[in-house]
Amino acid sequence: MKPILYLPPAAALAAVSIWLISQQRSISAFEKETLLLREHLTAVRHAEGPAADPSLVAARNGNRKTGDLDPIDWKALAGKMAKGGNLSHTQRISLREKLSAMSGPELNAALAEIAVLGMSQMDRGELKSWMLLRLKQKAPELYMDHCMDRIHDSRGSLSWEFPNAFEQWAGKDPAAATAWFTRQIAAGKFESKSLEGKYTTRLDFEARLLPGLLAIDPAAVKRRITALPEDQRKLLFQQGYTRLQPGSEKSFTSLVREYVPEKQQPSAFTSAAKTMLHQGGYEKVGKFLDDIEVSPAERRTIATNAASYQIDLIERQGGLDMAAVVKMREWMTRQSPDEMETTTGRSLVDRGHRSPPFEKRLKIIEDLHAQSGSDELLIGFLDGNQLPKNREASLVLAAKINDETKRAKIVKSLSR
């Protein structure tokens, strides 16, 4: 073959290589420079940049009295934000400090002012959330009035922030919260809009008012309940906001006994017990059950649900281990010993999306079973463990069930 024949492909290869390499270099150079520019930009935005608003920077150095701080020029601020000028971290701190120094009526007026300024929904939303947080702390009634026009709108975060804020207010100042709520009901703001005639929103607010009002005036709570349509009274106890204040437990029990059908009473008590777990753990719930004199059957239902709920909470926070399980078992032994093993097994079920992994759960069960030899422990655990990936190990564990009939049933369910 003549050497000249190699020339065209060699030249083509060289040309293509040069072209591709030069393109690749250009891409890398652009990406590298872009990255650097963005890093500088981020640094500027998070720092006290040259475009800082002097009034905001000044605010940072002053004390927190409104009179000593320059008023916020909302128009200028909106103009800056509309042009894509993000606030620096320092500017944000200064702005928030200024907002903290404002009174309730000043915040209310500022909310009205920014509502009509041209800015993006996101910028307005962020400013509004800062203002509303402070308004809620300083002047809850103004905050409630401000939110009232969104009372029946279930879109956005205000749909849960507003009722939560009412609950907090009612816990701290039940008399003021009750007066405000009663005025709104009289004005027809909580009228049912649904075809079924269900007072969904009013029931939600009534349930959130109940713990605070019950602590100062149980008779007033009764009057409020009887003002509701008869078929909706029991629903008040199914809303899940029974954060009882110390000393209200017996009044609450009387209400449940009077207004909730017998079969649903354990569920109402469980709801209260769950909130107590957040306040004082198992001990508080145990004392509650002793104080309200529940029947053994009610105690079994409430204790089982409360124990499972507590383990679920611990699991969500990534802390489920042998120590947490032993603590729960000790408490269940005092409350409802017959249910202790089953509850333990069920609470360790692997649902496939949380830590710890199945192997660690299995190890806890095996260690406990080595001590107790309980069939109920294994059945509780295996009955819920139906994930295919766990099947083999589950079948090995199922072989340890002593009762032949129960073992066969579990093996059958695992083999499906």
């Binding site: 293509v16 520019l37 963005r38 006290e48 971290h89 701190i93 993006s120 996101m122």
Partner: protein
């Protein structure tokens, strides 16, 4: 010689193919660079002086400030967090909000101090320690997403991430990618190699959605590379990431270019955008929509995202807007369902709209939903509305439905109604 020339041509063709593909990447990199330059200029800085010399980002005045007082502030806040958590396990949610608000004002070094104090505290147990650390990182993620990610990776076992940890990672990635797409992307790629647990559909969606606020075209170009198992979350993340009319327009333009790559994703994102826009002021949204000039196909995809759960009090406005834009059968189904749900939730408002709207296809479609929802509660009124429809199969079907519901409530009245309209039993 022929073989030699043929080989040369093949080489040139292959080079041309790969060159063309690289050219697209180069074009994108150049555009992204131009945009970054423009942003730097808009901030009053010179891109040349920053990029040419490869300097690291500025040290700030804040960095030079008295670190001692900042440390004191951080320690004080850590003390408050610990005491909040140790009293009734942090059940005072009002106080929690105040503390979270204060966390937003801290810089990364201060948050490090807060976390160190929490870790060293003997007043709380391991679970409370973990929870407070997460809350501190969550506060940091809002203003310093990169720092939050670095700290989280340093201080946590990635394999045992809690739901809150996962939220912090996604939130940080999305925010950071919105500020610095390449920085976030490089971090994600680099750490993904060592921590495959970080690479989930959720985190991928967060990175892409963050970039979409800056550069939707670049964001969409990453979808193929990222290999998501399920793109539904991505579609809604991207649609909810954009927040201004300019950003909606940029996203729409990018989606139009992307149609040929993944029409299903484009359809879902348009539906997600509709859901997102329905939350906002209707008139402003209408103005943007008229400027967007959606094609018939785009309107069909967009309307998929509209339902009573997002339109609520604006349901009537949206029906009017859709009236001349959707094919008749799709429009009727959409309106019937929306009005049914609206009537169940707020029958007075739905009724006012029904009474105020002009006769025509919109109203006929709405009668289906309105009378259908009323039937179980107010059958007589439902029957009157059903009778406003033109005679035919559709009306007969609705009348039979109303009659069935009426029979359960008042059999005698229902029988009279059936007789009058020859509906049988």
């Amino acid at each position: 010689m022929k073989a030699s020339l043929a080989l040369s041509l093949i080489l040139l063709a292959l080079g041309g193919f790969f060159g063309w593909r690289q050219h697209e990447r180069l074009k994108l990199a150049r555009e992204t660079h131009h945009r970054a330059e423009a942003e730097v200029r808009a901030s009053g800085l010179s891109p040349e002086s920053l990029a040419t010399f490869g300097k690291q980002p500025f040290s700030t005045r804040r960095d030079r400030e008295d670190t001692a007082s900042k440390t004191t502030t951080a320690k004080a806040l850590a003390g408050e967090l610990i005491s909040w958590k140790s009293v009734a396990a942090g059940s005072d949610t009002d106080r929690a909000e105040e503390l979270m608000d204060q966390l937003l004002d801290l810089n990364p070094n201060q948050i490090k101090t807060v976390i160190a104090e929490i870790q060293a505290s003997t007043e709380i147990d391991n679970l409370a320690r973990k929870h407070l650390t997460e809350l501190s990182l969550n506060g940091l993620s809002w203003n310093h997403p990169q720092a939050a990610l670095e700290l989280l990776i340093e201080s946590s076992d990635v394999a045992k991430m809690t739901p809150l940890d996962q939220h912090i990672i996604s939130n940080s990635l999305q925010k950071w990618a919105g500020e610095n797409p390449l920085g976030a992307l490089n971090w994600f790629r680099k750490h993904g190699e060592n921590h495959p647990e970080l690479i989930t559909d959720r985190t991928k969606a967060a990175v892409i959605a963050g970039i979409a606020t800056q550069d939707p075209k670049q964001a969409l170009s990453l979808i193929g590379e990222m290999k998501l198992e399920n793109k539904d979350t991505l579609a809604s993340s991207v649609a909810f990431a954009v927040s201004t009319p300019d950003e909606y327009t940029a996203l729409l333009t990018a989606l139009r270019d992307f149609e040929k790559n993944d029409a299903e994703f484009v359809k879902k994102t348009l539906g997600g955008l509709a859901y997102r826009l329905a939350y906002q002021d209707f008139e402003a949204t209408k103005t943007w929509l008229s400027s967007a000039k959606l094609s018939d196909q785009e309107i069909r995809s967009f309307s998929e995202g509209l339902s009573y759960s997002c339109t609520q009090a604006d349901t009537g406005h949206w029906i009017d807007w859709l009236a001349d834009k959707l094919p008749a059968d799709q429009f009727s189904k959409k309106v019937g369902k929306s009005v049914w749900e609206w009537t169940e939730a707020d029958y007075k408002a739905a009724g006012e709209w029904m009474n105020g709207s002009a006769d025509g296809p919109s109203k006929e479609a709405a009668v289906w939903g309105y009378a259908g929802a009323l039937a179980s509660h107010q059958p007589e009124s439902a029957a009157q509305w059903a009778l406003t429809l033109p005679e035919g199969k559709e009306r007969d079907k609705l009348l039979k439905g109303v009659h069935a519901a009426w029979k359960k409530k008042d059999p005698a009245a229902a029988a009279g109604f059936a007789l009058e309209h020859r509906l049988g039993n």
